[in-house]
Symmetry: C2
Subunit: 302 residues, 2 copies
């Protein structure tokens, strides 16, 4: 495990990775990309309307940067072209100004080449000023109301992602409001079942515990006060949210914590796919690109 992003990036890529942006005509994304190119991290292909992109590059004084442009106009064309480019270049992908659903459709049309799992989901990597470890939160962005099999698949994909960052055996906390199983709260029943599947060896390469309240998952002191005897005990590497709405609210709350940093990726793909939100800061977009380049270079993706 890494204590923070700085530690993760210290083992950064030794040569530029190739980055393709689907829907690049957006100022914060362009600035983040230009910065990563200047830092020698990535060579980049911007996919989008050539005129709009050219104008935006001039406007932002980025016209002389080493950025290739592939012209495409409709959202569907942009996503198709971006997937083509990423497969041609062996690089990684970033969602810009397109809908997540459109990008996922384009990836699913190239299932064999781009997917390795059976489900596309999302992981937010988070650094918080009050935690001594980088951790992941899934799923805040893609799977609205995962059933128990989908939750299993999300954990598997997140564990694989974690392994690719160079961390073995992450501790997974299946979140709920309380740590007691109650038939009135489906989340707690799901959590018990997931924990059972892990015990039965169906979710290898990690530890899965739940239901866990947020404090037991992220706060060792609270785990001591509550006399919680499990393995996670405030040290969770991965938080599995009960559903997208809860995950999304929690993820945004973490992001608003002063001093926090964030990077976002799809799970279930063969190459890193950076996915941050419209409202994400330039710093978090750049961080996501840097982490993507790092993981891409390790070439542990199939």
């Amino acid at each position: 495990m890494y204590r923070n992003f700085t530690e993760l990036l210290a083992r950064g890529p030794s040569r530029p990775a190739r980055l393709v942006i689907a829907g690049a005509a957006e100022t914060k994304t362009l600035r983040a990309v230009a910065k990563s190119v200047r830092e020698g991290l990535t060579g980049t292909t911007l996919v989008g309307d050539k005129n709009a992109l050219t104008a935006l590059l001039k406007e932002n004084d980025l016209f002389d940067e080493d950025l290739a442009i592939r012209h495409a106009t409709t959202p569907k064309e942009i996503c198709e072209a971006a997937c083509e480019e990423v497969l041609l270049s062996g690089g990684f992908l970033m969602k810009g100004l397109v809908e997540t659903a459109d990008l996922i459709q384009a990836i699913l049309r190239r299932r064999e080449q781009m997917l390795e799992g059976t489900l596309i989901s999302h992981i937010s990597l988070l650094e918080l000023p009050y935690r001594d470890r980088l951790f992941g939160l899934s799923d805040t962005s893609v799977v609205i109301s995962p059933d128990i099999d989908q939750k299993t698949e999300i954990i598997r994909a997140a564990v694989q992602f974690w392994n690719r960052m160079g961390c073995s055996c992450p501790k997974v906390a299946v979140l709920a409001a309380v740590e007691k199983v109650s038939s009135k709260m489906r989340d707690t029943l799901d959590a018990r079942e997931l924990s059972g599947r892990w015990h039965a060896g169906q979710i290898p390469g990690c530890v899965v515990e739940g239901p866990l309240s947020l404090d037991l998952a992220i706060d060792p002191a609270a785990a001591t006060i509550k006399r919680y005897a499990g393995a996670v005990r405030g040290d969770a590497d991965l938080l599995l949210a009960p559903d997208l709405t809860a995950g999304n609210l929690l993820g945004k709350c973490f992001n608003y914590t002063p001093g926090s940093r964030f990077a976002g990726f799809l799970l279930g793909t063969k190459m890193p796919v950076v996915l941050t939100s419209r409202a994400s800061s330039l710093e978090n977009k750049l961080l996501s690109i840097q982490v993507g380049a790092c993981i891409q270079e390790r070439r542990t993706y199939a």
Copy 2:
């Protein structure tokens, strides 16, 4: 609206309110209570096992404080006795080491004298270092999966609570993962319906908007970036969570934000009922007592 708790408490009670603790044999609660008595805020009745309480008071050097004890042993007896005491004294109530469900049962058995709404729920009052206003979050603790009528009732009770703090017309944000209504996400449909009920005049004394993502609810800058044109625009006074699990995770995340402060109360009761969690800090327990005393003195409760 108040910018923070300090501003709210500056208008604090001019004479001691009477506080009754249901299940007082818990160190942090006792210390918080003793401090509030020393500050002249409350006169207090501790309900619980007399021997255990006496031992704990001695252990914590609190034996000479002006604290009355009412002996009761089983959880049910403790909750019954605490409700009796609160009605006799005209004071307010605090949950100590008893289950929330037991306390609510005792309150419901005195429905006429203790309830004013049709539903008991919960509000967390929160102060965050990055927001310039005190705000409420409901329901993180009582109603597991509120239907649309229960959500309406929670908003009504929260608005009443808000009014009693001396604030008129709070802005209510009905939270969801996104600000677009989608038939795939029940939360967004509920939010539209609640907003519709407000437009129809069924939820008076406030503004209700939704569905709203967390950033549109609490961050004016994000509202500007996303060109959100509603009335809330990052300035929500009350956040309505989609369900208890989402609310609970969000509330705990707010609580972990360094520099945040928190006070918790039941909604729907005729007198303040302080309800914080086992893991709440001494500071937050004391803050909850102080706010409770403040609201109690204003005697705007029926």
